[in-house]
Symmetry: C2
Subunit: 214 residues, 2 copies
DNA sequence: GTCTATAAACAGATAGAC
DNA sequence: GTCTATCTGTTTATAGAC
């Protein structure tokens, strides 16, 4: 997966832009865009406000860069395409496929940068159409489309029963996980334990598998 | 259910407080607390900023009143208690119970005031521990506890199979609906159609019922 | 690319007349 | 309970020296 390191090298001398972006992500994810001032961001970086404007046109331009960072990371997220998916599913059963998917998901949400941007998207989704669009397209639609394709293949291979459409199954599988993700964002915000939540995901995979596998 | 009318009578002469609250709910739900100024709120009401301070101590006091309004409404939401639940479930099967629950839920989210406050809670949940607490307590925990009690009774009555605990079943039933609720808040924000979403809830009820009823 | 200085608008909140 | 007037600090952003 693409990350901040690829897009904004830390090692190079001119890394102020990157440091501004990191500080902004930190602060926006805590208090939201509107409640954070350019002062606070540049103070955290250790530069004056005016210096920020050498790197970003406006305060909104910082937010826009955060959005673009998220979409770049999502597009390079390494989700298998149709052909790769077919190859994988040839020798994988439903439960293994879902468990592997969860492990990948877990590694994703262990990336603090990504989790912070997720929080920002959640905070800004009503105020900002750009955030709304990213959530509906990259998070909701992207995930459901992928699962729908996978389940359609698994039905073809008779590894899953076809009483329900791949879409209904994708929703039944993924929507509880979306809610758990939301809960995860809230719990980790207060530094609370998420072990029980992880167990719930495993329960859910087991429950789902039990009823729909052939 | 308790509403604004009970808590802040519209008919009485001194209804400025109520009008401030309504304007604030409108604006906060669109842009979030931090991005809305007292100026904007009072302009919408048609009074000067200083007049606001005769009704609320600070800007934050308005937000706090909104939270208190929500919890009052939730506490008077008419969810049946243990005894009432038992009486209802004596002569109701699982599918009917869930369908009736959905109809009540639908009427709830047709209340624009409640939907706006829900959005405010979503926006403020990271910045504001009060919002976080309301979401975890009133929305997540409250709903799951209620369903868990109901499913436990249905299992006792042998109307539901007991391969899974009432808690797992409550989560499997409710968590997809939480996600759909979130999607609903986003779609209605842009005035988009929610019919497909409603179908999804029906599909979900049908899917869930098929696998767990006895 | 960073700094100091400053602009111009806006923020939340208060005092006191009516 | 609403108004006008005002206070004090903060906001985003720019100009120009180094």
């Amino acid at each position: 997966m693409l990350g901040l390191d690829q897009l904004f090298p830390a090692k190079e001398s001119g890394n102020t832009k990157r440091r501004i972006l990191e500080a902004a992500i930190d602060l926006f994810s805590l208090n939201g865009y509107s409640a954070v001032s350019v002062r606070e961001i540049t103070k955290q970086v250790g530069i004056k406000e005016s210096a920020m404007y050498n790197h970003f046109k406006t305060k909104d331009d910082i937010l826009d860069s955060i959005y673009r960072l998220f979409t770049s990371m999502s597009e390079g997220n390494g989700l298998p395409d149709e052909a790769q998916l077919k190859a994988i599913l040839e020798h994988t059963d439903l439960e293994t496929f879902l468990k592997q998917g969860f492990e990948i998901y877990k590694r994703t949400i262990e990336n603090p940068l990504l989790v912070k941007i997720w929080r920002i998207l959640n905070i800004e989704q009503y105020r900002d159409p750009r955030a709304r669009d990213i959530i509906l397209t990259y998070i909701y639609k992207g995930t459901i489309d992928f699962l729908e394709a996978a389940f359609a293949l698994l039905q073809e291979q008779r590894k899953m029963n076809d009483e329900y459409s791949p879409k209904v199954l994708a929703i039944e599988y993924q929507y509880p996980i979306f809610s758990m993700m939301t809960e995860y964002l809230l719990l980790t915000f207060d530094g609370k334990e998420t072990d029980e939540l992880e167990d719930r995901v495993r329960s859910h995979i087991q429950y789902f598998t039990k009823y729909v596998k052939n």
